[in-house]
């Protein structure tokens, strides 16, 4: 069995790949189960790339292509920010920047019964969790966590929402905390909700803080860690 895939010659792990590249040859890896994530596709004995990005590998057997887009591909257990588009008898229709509208059942709230269905206006911003996401079907959402508690899900009031790419959202949610948020958090106090679908919501005491935080985040997309710290420091010096 392959002990360290990154040592084998011609390995594409952590390299940028382009659609069409064949990254794995299954005929040389018999008797192994491999899990494919986004951006990869199986063509008989070869695994080929569908989206341009960096090929990643995680022990023991997971491969995926990491790329950053403006649209979102719904995955189960992702936390996203959705905008209510319509409400029906059984579900709210929520736009999560994916190929299809998502359904949020009216009872998917903590302590939700037929008597206390929340009333969301068209255009409200919700912080929700994706429960079901399969090809061909509309994704299903929920405002509770896996154990049924509310856990910060639900309507986001006031504040400001802006759109980013999915790559930037993943960077903001990475641990340890990304330098932008850390730098801003030391000097300013604000509330932030990051959706993996490329939407970020910020709320703070004064509009100038909200604008500062939003601009700092939008500018940090292509910067490395040290550059982010420098950018945040410069920004805070100017305005404080």
């Amino acid at each position: 069995m392959d002990g360290k895939p990154s040592n084998s010659p011609n390995s594409f792990i952590d390299q940028m790949v382009v659609p069409g590249d064949v990254v794995l040859d299954l005929s040389s890896m018999a008797n192994q189960t491999i899990k494919l994530g986004g951006g990869l596709r199986q063509e008989s004995d070869a695994i080929s790339v569908m989206k341009a990005g960096k090929l990643k590998f995680s022990r023991p057997n997971k491969y995926w292509v990491e790329s950053s887009q403006k649209r979102y591909v719904p995955c189960v257990e992702d936390t996203v920010l959705g905008i209510v588009v319509d409400s029906k008898a059984e579900n709210f229709l929520v736009d999560i920047k994916g190929p299809a509208l998502a359904f949020l059942p009216v009872l998917a709230f903590e302590g939700g019964t037929r008597r206390n269905i929340p009333k969301f206006e068209v255009g409200s911003l919700l912080y929700v969790r994706v429960v079901k996401a399969s090809a061909g079907m509309n994704p299903e959402l929920s405002c509770t966590d896996a154990s049924g508690k509310a856990a910060e899900f639900g309507l986001l009031k006031d504040g400001y929402m802006f759109e980013t790419s999915t790559g930037l959202s993943r960077m903001l949610l990475s641990s340890p905390t990304c330098p932008v948020l850390e730098g801003l958090g030391k000097k300013l106090s604000f509330e932030i909700a990051v959706g993996l679908n490329g939407r970020v919501w910020v709320n703070a005491g004064s509009p100038s803080t909200v604008i500062l935080v939003a601009n700092a985040i939008m500018n940090s997309e292509s910067l490395s860690n040290t550059k982010q710290k420098i950018m945040v420091e410069k920004l805070l010096q100017k305005f404080q």
Binding site: F12, P19, V22, A46, K51, Q69, K70, P99, A135
Partner: protein, 244 residues
């Protein structure tokens, strides 16, 4: 028998290529591709829910809109749209994202010859920028037959009007890096990359000349493919990448 091309290129030399991605704020994917002075801007929106009436809902559908630089949309534009739609449908994986529509809009910024291949290259780069799943990429090239029987690649508008008796637009697979041992991606004894996706010809060409065009075009497509790979791999997608 050397042909003197007005801009000093040899017969098989391409014009400088440049590609920038992610240039439009609202489009989900965008790319601007230029070959010399021919520049085309492509924008991709989608996938969005729902398909048009005559489309198969079990597949994703692609809609192409061609916007000429000046003037109204006429038959030539409709023909370009149809060629592009068929080409893009063959490279996209249509079984993912069923019952959705992806719209590709092409805006001609400047036309200096070899317009349709430039547009196909731009559309391909924009699809990748938008993250639409594609099986492999397409690279397009224009081969023109000059009056004396020689083949020139990537003609400018002047060359198209003055010298050419016939020309063909050829779209090939891009060249792929593969972990597979040599020979396993071959179909009928030829590597997959020699396959043609689209071929559009105008004028009268003999069979031998056409096969020669294919060979020259395929060699040039390897260079365009390398350039496309380098430009897709640059980390900051909004930086323009150039090649001579």
């Amino acid at each position: 028998m050397e042909i003197d091309r007005p801009d000093g290129r040899t017969r098989n030399q391409l014009r400088p290529l440049a590609c920038s991605r992610n240039i439009l704020n609202r489009a989900h994917g965008s790319a601007r591709w230029s070959q010399g002075d021919t520049i085309v801007l492509a924008a991709v929106y989608g996938p969005k829910t729902g398909t048009r009436k005559n489309e198969n809902p079990e597949k994703a559908s692609i809609e192409v809109i061609w916007k000429p630089r000046t003037g109204q949309v006429g038959k030539a534009e409709k023909e370009y749209e149809m060629i592009l739609k068929r080409t893009l449908q063959s490279i996209c994986v249509l079984t993912i994202n069923q019952n959705t529509t992806t719209t590709v809009i092409l805006q001609v910024v400047n036309d200096d010859g070899s317009l349709l291949p430039c547009a196909i290259n731009a559309a391909c780069a924009a699809l990748v920028d938008a993250g639409i799943p594609v099986r492999h990429l397409a690279v397009a090239i224009c081969c023109a037959m000059a009056g004396s029987g020689s083949v020139i690649l990537d003609p400018t508008k002047l060359e198209e009007q003055q010298k050419m008796e016939a020309f063909s637009y050829l779209v090939f697979h891009n060249s792929v890096l593969s972990m597979l041992p040599e020979g396993s991606l071959h179909v009928d004894g030829e590597p997959m990359e020699h396959g043609i996706i689209t071929s559009v010809t105008h004028g009268v060409i003999s069979v031998d000349d056409y096969l020669y065009c294919l060979e020259r075009g395929h060699a040039a497509s390897a260079k365009i493919s390398d350039f496309l790979r380098r430009s897709l791999q640059s980390h900051a997608p909004s930086d323009p990448s150039k090649a001579a």
